[in-house]
């Protein structure tokens, strides 16, 4: 397919320490088309950030190690690139926005310098030109350009995240990875920053991977959604598939644990139990121990992703062996109809 | 369910508190450097204790024997003899007594004085803190060796005065460490609740605050003993420490210096004694730091 920006196949990443071998990512595969935004949803520790770092081949090593898989970015396997080739890709083809803007900026460099650095690294421009670009980028993210000479500590959290976005977009990347870009911000600021990102992505025809645990954010921005649990994708599809034709018990659990504004009297239904320890994953389906539908068969074999069919789009896949039984249906879907 | 969870956690706490010392000791034993340091220090303490039995101070340690002067290391004199024919081995062994007594003595005095001052400064704050810390700052602004010089010239040259002089700089270190530790612990809620329960201040300090400052104090103590042993030998080397003919290691070096050309062992060996002793203390101190606060290690 020509219009793919990113194609990840069977990515496996472990963190190997003296005490334990942490299986952070256990065979994740997904594809990302041009101008598409994919939401990567899951709990803390599900392996979302590790997946994102792998795309830039930036998993901290040691202890992190990409064990197998391929990450084809615009026809090139990132994992096979040399260090120098990687440096050309980073920031230029793929850029990343980090979770905490408070710590993502270098405290001893002006924000202008930090944006300009990215331009200088990838384009043959003079220092002045790079600085001009930096100011342009600042204006683009809604910051007055004379603030280019200020240091990060002189900015508020939301403003810092705008600067981080400016750094990421400075070289007009094809793919933007945003790792929980709004988690550390106030709710009102969150909306502003999301709006800004949405507009910029449309304007620049970029693809984006948005990592989040906030389903509201996903609904607002994403075209596609992949739900990650314990280092595996359990359900993937278009936003419509996931929200309106939920098929995986874990996804259902995520929705049930959201407060429902229409029926306030109803109690929240959190998913029982905790995420399994990634250094000691249960055999079979990792969600089985918490799954209300689980049978003995579930803990025997790791379920493969299977197409859902029916009213869903062709992209919709789910990793749940309960669907071996053609009559199986989630509670959520039963109630709805 | 909730109740059950509670009892479980209390049980855990009991187990934890009972074995905290063992836990630290266990971690310490895993650290090779610290174990080597501990063994070396143990041997040194034994040497210091038995050297009066092995050597006679008047005849073997300070007694001159011009017939045997400047003999190189041999079977009869393992470390050779100095320019007065005194056996260097006997002198170095005996010297461990001086280094250990001065080191531990000065630092212990410093510990007591410094901890009291630091606790007052950290706990009372305000004018007390200002007064004490400015005072400490002043001592900090004069090189330690100069303070010792002033004190020794006021009091006269003797081992006791040397200990007093060195305890000053040790006290400033403890004062800072304890003050910092007290200030972090002071505002914790369990201390506030003790206040609310009406405990007298000194009891709060003794019961809640000092035990929580123990780790930095232990580490500081170990490392400070090493520093103090070096300072003591430095002052003796300059001739304002332990007066001759006592075999303090720094004094031995000072004596050997003039014979560097023909009897270099007189300069090498006492220095090695200082080096290894301080090395052992530092290894133990670093090990203790890691064992007491495993979070800091990585």
């Amino acid at each position: 397919m020509a219009d793919l920006v990113l194609d990840i196949k069977d990515l496996v990443v472990h963190y190997e320490t003296e005490d334990a071998d942490v299986h952070a990512v256990n065979g994740i595969s997904f594809q990302l088309g041009k101008k598409t935004t994919l939401g990567l949803v899951g709990e803390t520790g599900a392996g979302k950030t590790t997946t994102a770092l792998s795309i830039l081949n930036l998993v901290p090593n040691p202890p992190g190690k990409i064990k197998s898989g391929s990450i084809v970015l615009d026809g090139v396997d990132v994992l096979k690139l040399s260090q120098e080739e990687l440096e050309k890709v980073r920031g230029n083809d793929v850029a990343m926005i980090f979770q905490d803007p408070m710590t993502a900026l270098n405290p001893v460099m002006t924000v202008g310098e930090q944006i300009a650095e990215s331009v200088e690294l990838h384009e043959k421009v003079s220092k002045q030109e790079a600085m001009e670009r930096a100011k342009e980028m600042l204006r683009l993210v809604g910051i007055a350009e004379n603030r280019a000479y200020d240091y990060p500590h002189q900015f508020s959290g939301g403003m810092k995240q705008r600067v981080v976005i400016a750094i990421a977009l400075a070289c007009n990347p094809k793919l933007l990875i945003a790792d929980e870009p709004t988690t550390a911000l106030d709710v009102t600021i969150q909306a502003q920053v999301l709006e800004l990102m949405k507009n910029l992505i449309r304007e620049y025809d970029m693809s984006m991977i948005l990592i989040t645990h906030d389903l509201g954010v996903v609904a607002e921005i994403c075209d596609d959604v992949a739900v990650v649990y314990a280092g595996r994708i359990v359900e993937i599809g278009t936003a419509d598939d996931i929200f309106n034709h939920t098929h995986h018990p874990y996804t259902e659990g995520l929705f049930d644990s959201l407060p429902n504004l229409k029926e306030r009297g109803e109690e929240l239904q959190p998913i029982k139990g905790l995420m399994p320890d990634p250094s000691n994953l249960p055999p079979g389906c990792s969600f089985a121990p918490r799954c209300p539908y689980a049978t003995d068969a579930c803990s025997k074999k790791v379920p493969e992703l299977r197409p859902v069919g029916g009213t869903s789009s062709s992209k919709h896949m789910v990793a749940c062996d309960a669907y071996d039984d053609p009559k199986f249906c989630l509670r959520r879907n039963k109630d709805g109809k | 369910m909730a109740k059950k969870a509670n009892t479980v956690s209390t049980n855990n706490d009991v187990i934890k508190s009972r074995s905290q010392f063992q836990e630290v000791f266990h971690r310490l034993l895993k650290n090779k450097g610290a174990v080597i340091g501990m063994i070396f220090l143990l041997v040194l303490v034994i040497i210091a204790l038995i050297s009066p039995l092995a050597f006679d101070y008047e005849t073997q340690v300070i007694g001159q024997n011009m017939a045997d002067r400047l003999q190189g290391p041999s079977a009869a004199h393992w470390f050779g003899t100095d320019e007065y024919g005194r056996d260097l081995f006997a002198r170095i062994m005996w010297g461990s007594r001086y280094s250990l007594i001065i080191g531990f003595g000065a630092v212990t005095i410093g510990l007591v004085v410094g901890t009291i001052l630091g606790a007052i400064a950290g706990f009372k704050g305000g004018i007390w803190d200002q007064l004490i810390m400015r005072f400490i700052d002043i001592f900090y602004s004069i090189p330690n060796i100069m303070i010792a010089v002033v004190i020794v010239s006021v009091l006269g040259t003797s081992t006791v005065n040397l200990v007093i002089a060195l305890s000053f700089s040790a006290a400033t270190g403890f004062c800072r460490v304890v003050r910092a530790a007290v200030m972090t612990v002071r505002d914790q809620e369990y201390v506030e609740s003790s206040y609310a329960m009406g405990l007298p201040t000194w009891k709060i300090i003794a019961k809640h605050i000092l035990p929580n400052c123990l780790s930095p104090i232990i580490v500081q103590y170990t490392l400070q003993v090493g520093t103090t042993i070096i300072s003591a030998s430095s002052l003796s080397f300059l001739g304002i420490g332990v007066p001759a003919p006592a075999p303090e290691w720094g004094a031995l070096l000072s004596g050997g210096r003039s014979r560097m050309r023909d009897a270099s062992y007189l300069c090498v060996l006492p220095g090695l004694a200082i080096l290894f002793t301080v090395l052992a203390l530092n290894l133990l101190g670093d090990g203790l730091r890691d064992a007491l606060d495993p979070k800091l290690k990585k």
């Binding site: 770092l53 830039l56 930036l58 260090q83 120098e84 050309k88 890709v89 980073r90 990343m96 980090f98 905490d100 710590t103 993502a104 900026l105 270098n106 405290p107 001893v108 460099m109 650095e117 990215s118 690294l121 990838h122 240091y151 500590h153 750094i167 | 400015r134 002043i138 900090y140 602004s141 004069i142 090189p143 330690n144 060796i145 100069m146 010089v149 002033v150 004190i151 010239s153 006021v154 090493g226 070096i230 030998s233 430095s234 080397f237 300059l238 001739g239 304002i240 720094g250 070096l253 560097m260 050309r261 270099s264 300069c267 090498v268 220095g271 200082i274 080096l275 301080v278 090395l279 530092n282």
Partner: protein
């Protein structure tokens, strides 16, 4: 910024007054009778009394101290009764030698320790790291006057590469500077290593990598400048140690600096010289500490902003 410097200088005044008072008072306890020193053994009690009266030695202690301080402001700290030299002048003549030795020691220490600290941090928990840590361990445990003796033994007596003492050209400063510098290097290395280890884990380092910076750029452009602040603090904290080290190294190498001046003066029981030199030393230390504080501001915009606010 200038306001801040002026403010700091003003704050120094009470510190200097108290420090000098303590030293003056302590040294006053020990001093013999200067009149006796001047007049010699044959002086009659009347002559001694007359000299005392002329020199103001019979005035109350505080008056004498006040007179001493007034003199000091004008650069007059009396003269030695033993050598007859002017104290302030002698100190000022000797000071450059000590500053030179201290400066050379800091230079050597930084040149060795900074790269070594960064290197060991990058290769944490490998044998390279361990070798570096052993270097540091010995540096903190070695009495530096002994190191000086060993250097003389090896490099001047055995190999004859450097002179064993005195001050004569570049080669004479090498051994004393290494003597003072090694302990300092050990300290700077440990601080650099731990500071760098701390910085390496920061998010902005990942940001820099994600931008496409090479590993070298990440470490030096983004890491080092952040790691420098604790390193400068460490150097600043060790000024007292450098001074102490210099006193000993100067004695070992017969280097004509403050340390030797003080040491010789003690041996001569030259109280005026000792008092003056120690008071001047502590003033110098205060000034150097101030300079160190100002250097932070240069490296850390956050501190600079604070100074500007306070100033």
């Amino acid at each position: 910024m200038i306001k801040y410097i002026v403010k700091r200088l003003l704050q120094l005044i009470p510190v200097i007054i108290v420090t000098s008072f303590l030293i003056y008072w302590a040294m006053n306890l020990t001093s013999g009778d200067p009149a006796l020193l001047i007049a010699g053994d044959k002086a009659t009690p009347e002559m001694l009394e007359q000299i005392r009266e002329e020199m103001g030695l019979n005035d109350p202690f505080l008056v004498r101290y006040g007179r001493y301080m007034l003199g000091m402001i004008q650069g007059d700290m009396g003269e030695s009764y033993i050598t007859g030299k002017d104290v302030f002048q002698t100190f000022m003549e000797t000071l450059p030698n000590t500053l030179m030795l201290g400066g050379a020691a800091v230079l050597i220490a930084v040149i060795i320790a900074l790269p070594l600290g960064i290197y060991t941090a990058i290769h944490q928990s490998t044998w390279k790291d361990n070798v570096g840590m052993v270097f540091a361990l010995f540096g903190t445990a070695m009495p530096n006057f002994w190191l000086g003796l060993m250097l003389i033994l090896l490099f001047s007596l055995k190999l004859g590469w450097f002179p064993s003492g005195g001050k004569a050209g570049f080669s004479s400063v090498v051994l004393p500077a290494v003597t003072v510098g090694y302990g300092l290097a050990a300290l700077i290395m440990r601080t650099t290593r731990s500071s760098m280890l701390d910085v390496i884990r920061q998010d902005y380092m990942t940001t820099a990598r994600a931008k496409g910076c090479s590993e070298r750029q990440v470490i030096f452009r983004h890491g080092l400048k952040n790691a420098l602040i604790p390193i400068i603090t460490a150097i600043g904290m060790q000024i007292s140690m450098i001074m102490t080290g210099s006193v000993l190294a100067e004695t070992v190498f017969s280097w004509p600096g403050i340390g030797r001046l003080v040491n010789d003066s003690i041996a001569r029981r030259d109280n005026e010289m000792v008092t003056g030199a120690i008071i001047m030393c502590s003033i110098c230390m205060c000034l150097i500490n101030l300079v160190v504080d100002l250097v932070y501001a240069f490296f850390d915009p956050r501190i600079k902003a604070q100074y500007a606010k306070k100033g």
